[in-house]
Amino acid sequence: MFLRNAYRKSHASTKRFFASVAVDYDFSETPNLDEIHLKSPKKKTKINLCTAIRDAMDTAMETDDSSIHFGEDVKFGGVFRCSVGLLEKYGNDRVFNTPLCEQGIAGFAIGTACSGATTIAEMQFADYIFPAFDQIVNEAAKYRYRSGDEFNCGSLTIRTPCSAVGHGAHYHSQSPEAYFAHTPGLVLVMPRSPIQAKGLLLSSIRSKDPVIFFEPKALYRIAEEEVPDEDYEIPLGQAEVLTEGSDVTLVGYGIQMRKLILAAEMAKKDGISCEVIDLRTILPWDADTVEQSVKKTGRLIVSHEAPITNGFASEVSSKIQERCFLHLEAPIKRVCGYDTPFPLVYEPIYLPDQYKVYEAIKQTVNF
């Protein structure tokens, strides 16, 4: 009985937390002008992540006649409305619906990409990418290698909404990046914000390697920023240091960055200085930036929503341990989802929230 009451309580506090994240806490950033080279930095519009994605696709399609976009129901904007208006602007030939067949969509996309079209395919939810797993892992990722670069599908980008959304349960919440991170030849990207989303998606679409672009769907509406109107790219394969600090390095990507920032602020009140790093590109990942940071702080915490065992945090942890062994003051910690299927009713317990990260910071610093 105690547990049930406790659980009800926790449920209530979770609601408060989400409310505070959505409404009170302002995560908006200004573009990092050292990295994002803008011609007219003053021209910008406040948009959410969904619109930023749309904006990026629009820009890509406008600047590249060979680009096409397809997927289940994308013609009407897709279930999240990320492609609204593209049909009207670019017509049926370039924006079209596919039947419901993920393996077919992925294979078809590889074909259009390797025959010259800049291809943006959508998988309706990351949870439905698995029927396409073979095409992505065996065909797309290895095309360049196995053909001695006779063919490649570098102009392929697969967009897919991922991660928790508050009530998505088993089949609308998963973060499957680690499955693909085991596949050389793929590029995996996950943005944390609208500015990032636009620049990273444009780079992904124009990159010469096949990219899976994971979009944290919980951010589609709640994340709003002043996003530059113009065409800009953010380089792939480069992590970004969001806050500099001296005591412990926090590494993550996607929506998890918000939890890391919140935890870092809690720790700051205790006098702990956190360096917060967003990987942005999960594969190939920027180990150098993390290494540099950890050599300075001596401590590392890696965090993501996906289950802990064999999650991408495992890779970060082990490579940094190899590179920074003599600099480490404490064991590297991973703050991740539990090793369970993504739950319905227990979502708030499952998620590695800022309190769990904060607890890990304290443990690491006091080791």
């Binding site: 406790a6 439905y128 349960a169 089949y171």
Partner: protein, 389 residues
């Protein structure tokens, strides 16, 4: 054996039949024509017989099923139900007709639009709604939510969220039936949109090769999310898509057409003749799921027109009135009774507990129930098995 009538007895027992003679004459109903593929039309039934009590039971069952969906819709809008929720109203004649032809020894596997299918397989309205409201009194202890209904007792394999995935699974189940020499059939259900998934044809090939007792059942409700069949399927004759496997198209708003078709199909399969492809033409009233208003890709008029002219419950009602089985007033009373009953249930469910947090970690592997893992809760105080303090 009619699970449906026991379902009715359980749920709306207070409505007593009035002064009708229930068991008198049987009633004959003419069936709409089936369309066939690699079969002779003459092989198929053209008439069904029913009784007054049976018709009334069908009415009660379907009215109950529909009410569950309407109430779920309201509960969703009031945020009592979370998650992704797909409603079945408009398609009830399929469950009722199919269950009238099958027994609980037969096997069913379905996709995610399955509240009604689960009721046909013995789940109560209480369990169905409680599951959606994430209560431990729900069908899957509140751990699954909408979509996730199963019954090992009544051979119902779910409840599958991944479009098309259930179809090969059903084929394996059919192999089990054949392997054990049982006189049973497996019904593997999928939508018109799902019909474009390759694995359905991989499975059908196996079933054809090994003559498995399986009925591939495509519920063609005209849309896959926002895409109409003409826009997503090259061959919209879903009953022909088994290629060498015989197929039949059925106007499935007619509960008797469905029933007679499955009686016929079960005999065909248990006679060892191999698999079948059925296409059940139907219509969903609600949008695809709760986030879809359901009128951006089809007109309001289209929905209204179907409701007015082809509604499966109205059809049963028409027969009831035509044969003087009950008055309109009496049927209204049944509706009222169902309404009150479900409202009562919902109020009770609201006070039912959520599943205990420990269950986050159970039922992943065999035997995990005995372990006591540490689970860090949102607020530290309420964490489970905490090894600190």
């Amino acid at each position: 054996m009619l699970i449906t009538s026991s379902l009715t007895r359980r749920n709306i027992s207070r409505v007593k039949p009035q002064s009708f003679s229930f068991f008198s004459s049987s009633i004959e109903v003419e069936l709409p024509k089936f369309k066939v593929h690699r079969l002779e039309e003459s092989e198929l039934p053209t008439k069904a017989t029913t009784t007054k009590s049976e018709l009334l039971n069908y009415y009660k069952d379907m009215a109950l099923m529909r009410r569950v969906e309407i109430v779920s819709d309201m509960l969703y809008k009031n945020k009592w139900i979370r998650g992704f929720c797909h409603l079945y109203d408009g398609q009830e004649s399929i469950t009722v007709g199919m269950e009238a032809a099958l027994t609980m020894e037969d096997h069913i596997i379905n996709a995610y639009r399955d509240h009604t299918t689960a009721m046909g397989r013995g789940h109560t309205s209480y369990q169905i709604i409680a599951e959606m409201m994430q209560r431990s009194t729900g069908s899957s202890k509140g751990k699954g939510g909408s979509m996730h209904y199963y019954s090992s007792k009544n051979n119902f394999y779910g409840g599958n969220g991944i479009v098309g995935a259930q179809v090969p699974v059903g084929t394996g189940v059919a192999f089990g039936i054949k392997y054990e020499g049982k006189k049973q059939v497996c019904v593997s259900m999928y939508g018109d949109g799902a019909a474009n998934q390759g694995q359905i044809y991989e499975a059908a090939n196996m079933a054809g090769l090994w003559k498995l007792p399986i009925i591939y059942t495509c519920e063609n409700n005209k849309y896959a999310m926002g895409t109409s069949v003409e826009r997503h399927a090259h061959n919209t004759d879903f009953y022909k898509r088994g290629d060498l496997i015989p197929g039949i198209r059925c106007e499935a708003n007619n509960v008797f057409a469905v029933r007679e078709l499955y009686k016929w199909g079960k005999k065909y399969c248990t006679d060892g003749k191999g698999p079948l492809f059925f296409e059940l033409q139907t219509y969903r009233y609600h949008g695809h799921s709760m986030s879809d208003p359901g009128i951006t890709y089809r007109t309001r008029e289209e929905v209204t027109e179907y409701r007015k002219t082809q509604d499966p419950i109205l059809l049963v009602k028409k027969w009831i009135l035509e044969h003087d089985i009950a008055t309109e007033k009496y049927l209204k009373e049944i509706d009222k009774e169902i309404r009150a009953r479900i409202d009562e249930e919902v109020e009770q469910i609201k006070n039912d507990p959520m599943p205990a947090p420990e269950e986050l970690m159970t039922e992943i592997y065999e035997g995990q129930e005995t372990e006591k893992p540490y689970i860090r809760n949102v607020d530290m105080i309420s964490s489970i098995n905490k090894n600190f303090e």
